[in-house]
Symmetry: C2
DNA sequence: GATTCTCATTAAACCAGTTTAATAAATATA
DNA sequence: TATATTTATTAAACTGGTTTAATGAGAATC
């Protein structure tokens, strides 16, 4: 077999670890924070989740792909970004306890225009889109969880809009420091700048201005 | 009875027209564009909707109020805005066929910080929050409609973020002209400016620049 | 230990907005 | 029809970012 092809295949599959019947406790707990779900419905749902790991620098998603999986972050941090005129535009950082995917492409069933990249070695639980549908068909309560988690996502997205519209860049920087201080430890500053909608130079100026007062 | 009090009361209630068993066909059709709903489930849901009318300039919502109703716009246009440092910040214009409320305050069950104001005489169908819950409890299919309409709202909100982040003000102006040309007929320009996140002066400059090329 | 690479800062020139204030045009009201 | 009010435009001065390019500082690699 062609060595380069083998390399590509290994790149794609190396990160996958097969089904583990193990500790989905956090995931269950997170789901139950949204809606009451009976034990039997919960077990029905859990059996579709598969544990996967990725190495720092691996891509969970690249542009052009249709969205296959919904993820729950067990350990680690990813960036979700698009490329605009050659520059990465970070939409979001997802860390422990988050549900995530390229939700925009997932919902609309269109090819993604974004990247999801592991910023550290990560562990996730993944459920396929078709399995999500099975779970919602099977359980009214889990469908309710789906609705309520979508509401939550809307709230966060809406807050993002309000911040973009009503706060200055400096205020957004301070807000982020207050709300997610851990990000500044684990993510390089130029990605923070991108997330805030500025250039590294712009952020540097803001930091300088702040350090003077 | 004190005349001023009477005036206030009439201001509050004049706009309400009581239950009509009439043409919720558009509403039903819109719901069914999201999910299959049996006739009996649909009838169960429909009986909670009440038709209401408001005059131009009336407020459907003011800051401080908890959200009571979810609306479906039958006829007319409202603006949904907040006040930041004395200036109206228009979040959205809702027109015929839209579901709307202050979704952010509705979901979080917190007092609104926003206004919803009729920009024209309007007719809406309103369902109370408690009735929405009854409907979702009663019907898995209508709960699915709830989930999917929430997804739709997320998509629109997400597009809004992308536009705010990746397009210049001029590009956003042109985009709005292309996507919702009717708005420019029915809404004053300073509200359009606010929606786009600029001052009337800024929008005027953009228009001038465009008219030269 | 020296070299390379990545990331953050600084400087200079630039630009698309802002604010304030005056004016013009359109609309509503007496 | 005249008058008042609201809405849109223009001008001038200002501002907080941008881009480009050079420099500095830390971490990874040879």
């Amino acid at each position: 077999m062609d060595k380069r092809l083998l390399f590509v295949i290994s790149k794609i599959f190396c990160s996958f670890v097969e089904n583990s019947s193990v500790p989905l406790e956090e995931l269950k707990k997170t789901i139950r924070s949204y809606a009451h779900v009976s034990d039997s419905d919960m077990e029905f749902g859990m059996k579709f989740y598969k544990r996967k790991t990725f190495k720092k620098g691996d891509f969970l998603l690249k542009p052009g792909q249709y969205i296959e999986y919904f993820y729950f972050m067990k350990k680690g941090c990813v960036s979700y970004y698009s490329m605009e005129e050659g520059k990465a535009q970070v939409m979001e950082f997802f860390t422990e306890g988050s549900f995530f995917t390229d939700l925009y492409a997932y919902i609309q069933e269109i090819p993604s225009e974004s990247y999801i990249e592991a910023l550290e070695d990560i562990t996730v639980y993944a459920i396929s889109k078709t399995d999500v549908q099975k779970v919602f068909d099977h359980s009214h309560q889990l469908e309710r969880f789906g609705r309520l988690s979508m509401q939550r996502t809307f709230v966060i997205t809406f807050q993002r809009i309000n911040q973009l519209r009503n706060l200055s860049n400096q205020e957004r920087y301070l807000e982020l420091q207050k709300k997610r201080p851990e990000l500044f430890q684990r993510v390089p500053q130029y990605l923070i700048a991108s997330y805030l909608g500025l250039t590294p130079v712009g952020l540097s100026k803001i930091r300088k201005r702040l350090s003077k007062s």
